[in-house]
Amino acid sequence: MRSRRRRRHPLAEPRTLFARLWDAHRVARLGPDDDLIAIDRVLLHERTGSVALRSLATAGRRVADPARVFAVTDHIVDTLPGRTGTRVPGGEAFLAATREETAKARIRLFDVDDPDQGIVHVISPELGIVLPGATLVCPDSHTCTQGAFGALAWGIGSTEAEHAMATGTLRMPRPKTMRVTFTGTLPTGVTAKDMMLALLAMHGANGGAGYAVEFAGEAVTALDIDGRQTLCNLATEFAAVTGFIAPDEMVFDYLRGRRYAPQGATWDAAVTVWRELRSDPGATFDCEIVIDASTLRPMVTWGTSPQSAVAIDATVPGQTDADLSPTGYDRALAYIGLAPGQILAGTPVDAAFIGACTNSRLSDLRRAAAILHGRRVAPGVQAIVVPGSMAVRRAAEAEGLDRIFLDAGFEWRMSGCSLCFYAGGDGFAPGTRVISSTNRNFEGRQGPGVRTHLASPETVAASAIAGAIADPRSFA
């Protein structure tokens, strides 16, 4: 279908996509730097959403438009086959509160036994809940994942979630704008995960503080829809308010026909509007970063911040190159149990984990399975794969990926956030060294004393086979 381009006023100032989206949602100005912004979608999960719903009800306030609020159980649900709820001590109370409050408020809940259950940021696109040009919030920091669809999507606290549900708006300081452009073509075996770990290594875990970040460039538009979500997912690790990508035909093709996406003539009208959602040529950003994607290599973290990442065949940097304070640097190395100058590749691992809202979608599983096919996990390595949603799990099973994982020695689990973080029900033993497709390598994130190395799913798969951190390019 061809769309007629709307002609802009010749003297109109070129605008960023961010300005276009923000201004379209401004309900009122609250001050020189603050606006009241309309919120189109609110998502909740049982860990923080339950608190927000209960607090709202206790205050005697109503959810203004429950049809535009969706809830899911993902954070503390058991991911072992045959599950019924959670193994987290005290976790049942969170599930019970979520069920009770969503029922009372007439909010659609995708519960643990729902065929559409999964990690909130994985199922939202699958169901067409997120849409280009929409504002979407969730009391979860990785909400920015959904910026991959050309939405303004960001994480908030529980109190802000109450505000969004009660008023359909949020009071927000207007962020500054940044564009991160990845030029060139990604080399084989290098992924969206590696692009973001490289950005974090170059510009720091606070490099995006105060900014709404638009990702652009040919290496970004060349990513598939899953890769784009991985890219935007890690914007929060950059301290950005959000990350997003201008929507294109790939996004429209993905969303067409999804359950909550518009249908028929409304769909056509929406796509016509969505095709205009881009930054004008000549639009100015408060900050611009350009990275040549063709120079990137598979990345792995060596410390306890996502910014502490190096190419897999590089060495643990010295303190000055690490961009950490001397005490912070020493602390990180003591925790992770590595020494400066040590090469990351070849470091023995005890466990391998593929999952989380960062890298648990079908293409992530396909790429890992391609490496695992016909191979076995090294003896002594605990290997686990947790699909991001039950829909991903079914799709993977339909093409036999589950057999490849199982034959290689991986556990094949039900969907949820699982071992991305330690909630008490499921954790690695203290001191375990884990190669992980997740997003955070903080001290204790995957369990007290657990040493996390972040990497792409293919690097996790290669390392599981090798029993040590391994370059996926040598397993192609």
């Binding site: 909630a423 008490g424 001290e443």
Partner: protein, 197 residues
Amino acid sequence: MTAFDPVPRVSGVAAPLLRDNIDTDAIIPSREIKGVGKTGLAEGLFAGWRYLQGREPDPGFVLNDPLYAHAPILLGGTNFGCGSSREHAVWALHEYGVRAVIAPGFAPIFASNCVRNGVIPVVLPAEVIATFKDTVTIDLVGQTVMSGGACVAFDIDPEARAMLVDGLDAIGLTLTNLPAIAAFHAADRVARPWIYL
């Protein structure tokens, strides 16, 4: 209507925790979040750093030093409050007695959570924070921090400042904008009908 105790001014001992990238998992580990509520969290504050095996206080951790126990002010490193959006981190700090954190920078969700709960996020350069000793006074109305005879000014978003100075309930305040919200929706339903389910 107030949502929390107003904090026009905070004065007291400032506990130095000058690590960069202190994340909300460190402030309140997930396993310490035991109930569906906003209370009962102070004991789990910094649990991974504060306690040794068997919940014994680690004498090396700053808040276990009697001088800094229940300090109303924390001094932090850059990117304070990064990671998970869990507001439990701020609830735990507040319940413990913290009313302000002074750091070179904050993660955006954490800063916003502070403003909704009566904890002042004060941004100052690391070099300035390093000079602060023991008792510190934050005057949010005048936007200054005083310590040891020195006085430095700081910037804060005017809306955040107003909310904290008066302990304002954001929802109550926004509900006074209902006519503007209704007008927005009326026009938006025509412009973007696909948003409304």
